[in-house]
């Protein structure tokens, strides 16, 4: 049965505009620094009738009580008893049992449903969740087998949720004034909450497009770049960890929503299965909610010989990006073709892949403190068939072993 040790600790994250922001967060490494978001917990369910009991040991190294809520999980218990809200002097402090500074408590729950879930603090949540005490849980179906056709699914074989690659995007907001107040031990009035940064996997654009585990972002280990090949089924999991709602959409194609809050969008009776999945361009990623989607880029099949792009291609100067002489553009409008670039322009394009956005359509959220580009934005890179290495978009079967 999976056991995860988490420590509630503090630490710092970096933003692309050069700031260092104090956070509270979780780590799964003894002596580690807070990570944003908290470590992703990936669990594979047992074959029924066995139940999948998950144990989370929380050790609190912060100066006030901390707790963890597990929305969508079954029979959440602490030290063997059902969790209950906690009061101090008759006043609510925690929505679930908490851990005092310096202590350790043990939560258990049964992972009864596949899908994407949040875990988040239930103590002084107006402060602790925005400070960073949140993370995501992925529960895999019991028949999940990544190397078997039809068994690499989000919700189980036969549920129409097969995928080739998967990406988790945990979104949140940062009001630097809250973080500074907590760092300095000053009071903070939630009425003045005003986010200036918006994060995807704890990073703001353009850091979202960097690989996982880059050296200069030690506490933000997860990138958010989505890389795929045409026709692949890509499972994109949105998790809204902030307190605001964010309208996210990829360009290129629509997504098909197959599950929300860790529940398959399908109703079954003995005789009948009703598929409730639906396509959307923009998904309003609500606070505290998750959205599992399948995305397939189909493109329009243009290629330079038999199916040319029917419009006049703009001149090269108008396709260059920025003043700084760098671009991700291939120099050609055709997938897999590298073309000529304006002189002096350096292209980081590898094999003629396309890059386009996945972002929040609330446009002020694609800035870092008002400066574009930033915030809730990443890129989707479409690689020509056969050119994208297999390891991209491969999350492990399980994160924390047995």
């Amino acid at each position: 049965m999976p056991t995860i040790d988490l420590w509630a600790v503090d630490g710092y994250i970096s933003t692309p505009d050069g700031k260092s922001i104090y956070i509270w967060g979780f780590t799964d490494k003894a002596g580690g620094s807070a990570q944003l978001p908290g470590p992703t917990i990936i669990i594979k369910r047992q074959d029924p009738p066995a139940r999948t009991m998950v144990t989370v040991n929380l050790t609190n190294s912060l100066p006030e009580p901390v707790s963890i809520l597990f929305p969508g999980q079954s029979e959440v218990r602490v030290n063997g008893n059902p969790v209950q809200p906690q009061y101090q002097n008759g006043s609510l402090i925690s929505l679930t049992n908490h851990c005092l500074p310096g202590e350790t408590i043990t939560y258990t729950f049964y992972a009864e449903n596949s899908g994407t879930f949040l875990y988040e603090s239930g103590t002084n949540p107006h402060k602790q969740v925005p400070m960073g005490l949140y993370g995501a849980i992925i529960v895999r179906p019991q028949d999940y087998m990544p190397d078997h056709t039809g068994y690499k699914t989000a919700y189980g074989t036969g549920t129409g949720t097969e995928f080739d690659r998967e990406y988790l995007l945990v979104v949140g907001e940062i009001d630097p004034d809250l973080h500074q107040a907590v760092e300095l031990g000053k009071p903070y009035d939630t009425r003045v909450y005003k986010p200036r940064y918006w994060t995807m996997n704890g990073r703001c654009a353009n850091d979202t497009m960097l690989p996982d585990n880059v050296d200069h972002l030690p506490n933000q280990p997860h990138g958010a770049m989505i890389m795929l090949e045409p026709g692949e089924k890509v499972l994109i999991r949105y998790a809204g960890a902030g307190v605001e709602n964010h309208p996210l959409h990829p360009h290129g194609n629509h997504t098909r929503l197959v599950g929300m809050d860790g529940r398959l969008l399908q109703n079954r009776t003995l005789s009948n299965t009703t598929d409730l999945s639906y396509k959307r361009f923009t998904v309003l990623t609500g606070a505290g909610q998750t959205y599992d989607q399948i995305y397939t880029w189909t493109g329009l099949g243009f290629e330079p010989v038999t199916n040319q792009i029917p419009t006049v291609i703009p001149n090269l100067r108008n396709m260059a990006i920025g003043h700084t002489g760098m671009t991700m553009w291939s120099g050609s409008p055709y997938l897999g073709v590298k073309g000529e670039l304006p002189s002096g322009m350096v292209s980081y394009n590898e094999v003629g892949e396309y890059h386009f956005m996945l972002h929040s359509h609330a446009e002020p959220e694609i800035t870092n403190w008002g400066a574009f580009p930033g915030g809730l934005m990443t890129m989707i890179a479409v690689y020509p068939n056969g050119t994208l290495e297999r390891h991209h978009g491969m999350l492990p079967v399980e994160s924390h072993g047995l």
């Binding site: 929305p71 959440v76 000053k186 009071p187 009425r191 929300m260 009776t269 609500g286 400066a371």
Partner: protein, 606 residues
Amino acid sequence: MAVITKDLWAKKGIIAFPDGVEVPFWGFAAAAGGNPQLPGPVIIARVGDVIKITLRNELSDFVSLIFPGQDYIPTPVKENGVFTSYNTHASPGGVVTYTFTATRPGVFLYESGASPERQVPMGLYGAMVIYPPGVDHPSDPDYHTAYGNNTASLYDVDKVLILSEVDSGFNLAVDSGSSFNMLDFEPDYWLINGRSYPFTVLPDDVDILVSQPLGSKVNAAPGKRILIRCLNAGSQNHSFRLEGITARVVAVDSWPLAAGTGSIDATYLKNTITIASGESYDLLFISGPEGQYYLHDRDHHHLCNAGQYPGGMATRLDVMQADPVDVPVSPSQLACSVICRNGIRLNWRDRAINEEGCVVERKTGVEDFEILAFLTAPGLTEYTDRNVLPNTSYTYRVRAYNSKGFSGYSNRCSVTTHDLIAGPANLACIAVTANQIDLAWTNNAYNANGYIIERRTAETERYLVIAEVDGDMTAYSDDTVEANTRYYYRVQAYNSTESSCYSNECGVTTPAIPPGAPEHLQSVYISSDLVILKWDFNYTNKDEFIIERKSGAAEYNEIGSVDKYNFYYFDFQVAGNTIYYYRVRAYSKTGGYSGYSNEIMVNTPA
């Protein structure tokens, strides 16, 4: 088929919040001379009933009602060619009657249609619940369903939760006839059924909330089908979380998602759902094991009353074997004693087995009792009042509550605070530099093990402990202060068993210091139409950077500014083949201008 007749009086009243704040509001009363209610009285009908609402306007604005979701055609009103109301209105002192037939089941709003941007947030809204005709007949297939047979809406317990917000400043301004710019509307209280937590978990019709009669706590036995009917009457969207519960969404805007035999079952499961302004969701689940389950806005900032957690848009499901049949037995043997460091400790005997919480009330001298605290957990037998003054007499009483109402009061207890240890006195504070404040006090204590020094930065903030010093000390230097900031201090002595009361409070403002000059100004990009400047980044004590430029022997001119979080400047106003000089300085509102950075020369290419 029945005719449901409802008279509503639109009038002014007062609503109360748990932090003691009271604000005026406009609402609907259910009787002549009655208190207006927030939300308005719930109108309950069956499909097929004729609903006849008579609105009697005791406000000085036009008031009208609209009925979204009903088969009802409103009559928009223009006065002198200007649109004034979505529907026929009642003038001040006037009366208007609206009549329509309830054609489908569900939970619906009724709300003001005249100046709705002001009147709805002021409180002129309420809910209508329309049930299938057979809802009360055990033999009818629609018995205990929200939407009829085969609609996945069979319930044991149903509860309407009306979500909304209050901006107390808006209410005060509008009620007094002052102008209010709606762009400044910023709620500071969030409500369920007209109350903020913890008032939400008090029973219905409590004497202390005359205009907010509706509690929202749900009591149920394990294994019951609970239907939560959430209706958003506010102007914000709320992501409503059922903590520890995954519910089935059975209807949206009162359209069932399983619409009867032969239609598809489009109901789905959620633990949190974003409910847009004006929307409704019916959420069904089976109650789990005994215990407390919070139902709350997942936007945690709405779990505050005027910025203070806990509060706001939260209520609770209590799963218990048996609902209380009577109010609790009153608490007894209330005793109070001074623990100066912590205030006054109250203890009592909890004689009830069915209470959900208690209310502690306090008075000084001959004044009336005031509510001191709502204790929202059962089984409590103590409370510490941390907000007491030395040499003052306090009298306390306690009463318990449950869903049936309040118990009688306990006995009263009285206690006079005194100087347990003669505390520190004559506290004085001096700002020595912009970053140091010196404190000194008189040591009146005997046996003091030490002193606790506390600080806050504004009258409205809470004190925080910043240091502890030995008992023989009478001075302290605080070097953790910032420039141009007002600080307040207080000091308390303690020994191994008890603590003194606090010293007097002293306040002092540190002087401002000018910001440091930017350093290492350099050009990082030069072309014929753009120069990019960069300098070293340190935003302490700065509000913005000001960029100056000159060419040749001319004077420097300010060409732009960037806020303190930027360390780049893009100068697009350059010509090719020109020599420019640049320099940058910082500015802070409190400390004025810094010195200049280094000067650099840039020669743009042709």
